[in-house]
Amino acid sequence: MAKYVDKELPSLTKAQIAEEIHQRIGLSKKECLEIVQGFFTALADSLEEGYAIRISGFGNFTLHDKGPRPGRNPRTLEEVPIEARRVVVFHAGQKLRKRVDGYAAKRK
């Protein structure tokens, strides 16, 4: 497994998403930025409240409770306990995977 990114392309940010929505559906730039912001805030709030999020076609954000385990500082090799914690995991849905696979096919 390796991280793969097209370094030629600038990364997509909230501001750019907002600009793009503005061009596509004509809401004001200010409203678009607020909605983009509101969308990610709603996702984060929901996850904090313990809700998994399932967006069909895009993917699922699920929550997992991890037990405590002994850890180690890799630099000093010192043992540091890792506390029980909750993590969020994203799994891309079928449609998103297909679209991404289309990219892979294009590169071959």
Binding site: M1, A2, K3, Y4, V5, D6, L9, S11, L12, K14, I17, E20, I21, I25, L27, E31, C32, I35, V36, G38, A42, L43, A44, D45, S46, L47, E48, E49, G50, Y51, A52, I53, R54, I55, S56, F58, G59, N60, F61, T62, L63, H64, D65, R85, R86, V87, V88, V89, F90, H91, A92, Q94, K95, R97, R99, V100, D101, G102, Y103, A104
Partner: protein, 118 residues
């Protein structure tokens, strides 16, 4: 949780669950904008997801401050096996979207102890 299990669960995206669906999320966003027509907010949210999909489909990184970032992970081609009959199956190199939660989101979630509604 194993990768295999993960692959199975994603196919039941429409299954009834205690989690939130796209429409639940849209309703939550709509609720934050009492002065914008709900249909406009809903459209905007759908377009956000479309734009994110398009970005990932060109291997573009998505960086959302405070929430996290999305990029692609590449898995080399491997010789897999059909678990039922043991026959070798060639699995081509794959690109899979990956999400890395941001520090703020991780911090908000890791201490949360409310029951998980999945």
């Amino acid at each position: 949780m194993t990768a295999g299990k993960a692959a199975d669960t994603e196919d039941i995206e429409e299954a009834p669950s205690g989690g939130l669906t796209r429409n639940d999320v849209i309703a939550r966003v709509v609720g934050r904008f009492p002065h914008t027509p709900p249909e406009d907010v809903a459209d905007a949210v759908r377009v956000v997801l479309e734009i994110m999909t398009e970005a990932l489909a060109e291997a573009r990184v998505i960086e959302i401050r405070g929430f996290g970032s999305f990029c692609l992970h590449y898995y080399r081609p491997i010789l897999g096996r059909n678990p039922r009959n043991g026959e070798p199956v060639a699995l081509g190199g794959r690109y899979v979207p990956h999400f890395r939660p941001g520090r703020l989101l991780r911090r908000r979630i890791e201490k949360s102890r409310v029951p998980i509604k999945d």
